[in-house]
Symmetry: C7
């Protein structure tokens, strides 16, 4: 292997304290600051916006997400901002 | 790691005795006081309201929720109240 | 931790011999007396009513429920009676 | 614990040789005599009727059911007969 | 236990070399001769007919089925023939 | 056991280098040459055709399939060709 | 075994630093450069395009995908380019 393997849990660990964007199985979407996680990819988020284009966004101060139901996590919070800093 | 990892199970543990809001896979929603939990995130809630915008809310004195089917847990009970105290 | 953790399996254990109400993934509902359970939350119920608002209720003398498919368990049997005694 | 815990696998064990009724996830229903089972609640049934109110019942001499897909098991075969004898 | 427990894997083992009928989760059906299996109930079938009442049956010389997706296995191949010999 | 058990993983192992046909849960179908697999039945295929009767077939030089989502594997590639050679 | 088994995790390992294309259960598709993975096939991708023929493609600088929900991975990024180099 000539290229370094960026382990998924290392990526999540680097995101602690930073905004992330999470898409759940079933389609729910959350943007917030990552407070913590565990080996099952359960995640704690703070200052959360549940993104709901139909019913309207909802603010949640803090949430716990079940890792089994996480489909995708995007560092940077909203899927549009650039996010080059967390890997330094 | 320069930022502390708030472990998901620690967050749940801090919520014992306090109101939480739980959304299940499939969409059921419950608000109640957390009495306890285990490593599978099975949870016991007390003074529960099953939130059902269509059929009407239902009061339940105590329930057990299967952790496998928990999608999201929100400290603070109803998703709108602020919740800054549980982390002190 | 300043508040005692009521473990989910302890709650179930206290319900042995008492009426409970179980909602399965997929929506089936059963009310009956809990005879026993195991660590997978497989449960044995006696004097069971399968609650079916459309097809009509059905009486079953005894059933075994697969814990994987249990969504929620309510002590007290029908979700409306009070249930303060089991925790003494 | 003041009341004896009837373990689910013990209930199944007592049903060996007796008629049971099984409902699978997805809705398939089978009535037949239980020949055996294992710890995954895989079950072997004999003299089986697949109950199909729409397409008509079907007779099967012997079947194996995958325990993962078992939702509910009812001792006594058809959900209407009484079944008091197996616990003596 | 006064009646012998016919273990599910023993039943499958007795079917090696004989015709069986398999119904998968999702509804696919296969009839063929069982060549082998493993502890996960993965199965190898030979001289297989995929039974499809709508699109028409399809012949397959040999298939491997994922045990996770097996719902039901019927010794005897087509669900109608008698099958008393495999237990001697 | 009087008949030899053809273990599923042995069947897959014999298919390495040969054409196989894979049907996934959900209905996707792939025909290609099997390059390798592991104990979870994850599979690597080469010179793959994704069979799509509606949208049209698609050629893929190499793919990895998640074993959890594999429903059925057919040695021989397209479900119609005979396939007697791989067991010698 | 006369032909070498190309282990799935080895294939993924060879793709680190190269473009891949991932299809999730549920249908989401992503093309991007693979940064890393773990034994659960969780994957980190960089310079990602979420392919959405209906809503329009979306650019994402970096994402984490849950291995449980990965259906298929295609080395080469978009399913049409040739990809012969990674195996040398």
């Amino acid at each position: 292997m000539t290229t370094e393997n960026v382990l998924p849990l290392e990526l999540i660990d680097k995101c602690i304290g930073s905004p992330i964007w999470v898409i759940m199985n079933g389609g729910k979407e959350f943007a917030g600051r990552l407070l913590g996680f565990d080996d099952y990819v359960n995640m704690v988020l703070e200052d959360v916006t549940e993104i709901d284009p139909i019913g309207g966004d909802k603010k949640l101060p803090k949430i716990l997400l079940n890792g089994n139901n996480v489909c995708m996590m995007v560092p940077g919070g909203d899927g549009v901002s650039t996010f080059d800093d967390e890997e330094k």
